[in-house]
Point group: C2
Chain length 167, copies 2
């Protein structure tokens, strides 16, 4: 089944893909539109992935997610959304000059943005989480809900979320 | 002159040090208290400093700073505050297992938090910026306004701010 993503100008609304037919199993429930205002969400933590990813990343949370993190509440309640933004990992010659040696790496171009959306009923088969990825603001075609979940399974004790809150 | 920092419970107010005597030159105008709610500010960018610092960092901005960044407005208007949070750079064995190789670095314990506060009159001699650092929530004793500014001078063309906004 081909799911056509309707991108509303300005990313007005965030809805997870609702299958219009009965072929639910074949239609991965990934996000069709970026959650409005996600770039304004509060910071959970930061990270660096080397290797092929070679990025710097920020993990942000909507109000529901941040509240749960700060209260140490597990599992995350329905409505929690966690966003992972990433940018290419770029040495900063400008900063290195100031520090007097090559040590500084900054965020370059954005790579992609990923989301985990909690809806315990809708995504019951994947720990209550829906997974989505956006490349240049558009839903990635190659991300499969079950594949995302498979990698997150080892973090089951923390409701399938790897990132810890950075105080 | 000994400046005694009065830490109000919960960091109620953020005031820059107002010298109570005439010895202004000897009393660096650094922050006495953490700006309330700075951990909730919006993200400007992320970075990694290797070397002795060996940290992962997030740069956040208050509303005035974020607005100026997004509008590309220079110099930053009075009232802008930029926060640099940093955490130790820690390999994540947990994440590495999932990725199948050692590539993942996450935020460990916090190191310190630094602020740049724009007040073009008060800090006229340092590009309009006041500089502050807090270790474990308390004002650092070893940070000198002029020393901070000296390192920031090469970024004069961007109003002495190195960090660029990460889209």
């Amino acid at each position: 089944m081909l799911v056509t993503a309707v991108m509303v100008a300005g990313f007005v609304a965030f809805t997870l893909a609702e299958s219009a037919n009965t072929d639910e199993a074949a239609a991965p429930d990934v996000g069709r539109e970026l959650p409005p205002g996600y770039r304004d969400w509060r910071l959970i933590s930061v990270a660096h992935e080397a290797g092929n990813l070679n990025d710097l990343r920020a993990i942000l949370g909507n109000d529901v997610a941040i509240k749960a993190y700060r209260e140490g509440k597990l599992p995350f309640p329905d409505g929690a959304i966690i966003a992972r933004l990433a940018w290419s990992y770029v040495p900063s010659e400008e900063n290195n000059k100031v520090f007097g040696r090559p040590q500084s790496f900054v965020a370059g171009d954005p790579t992609n943005v990923q989301f985990m959306v909690k809806n315990s009923k809708k995504y019951a088969s994947t720990g209550g989480w829906g997974f989505a990825q956006f490349d240049n603001g558009k839903p990635a075609q190659n991300v499969v809900q079950n594949a995302c979940f498979a990698c997150h399974e080892p973090a089951k004790a923390r409701d399938f979320v790897f990132t810890r809150y950075a105080p």
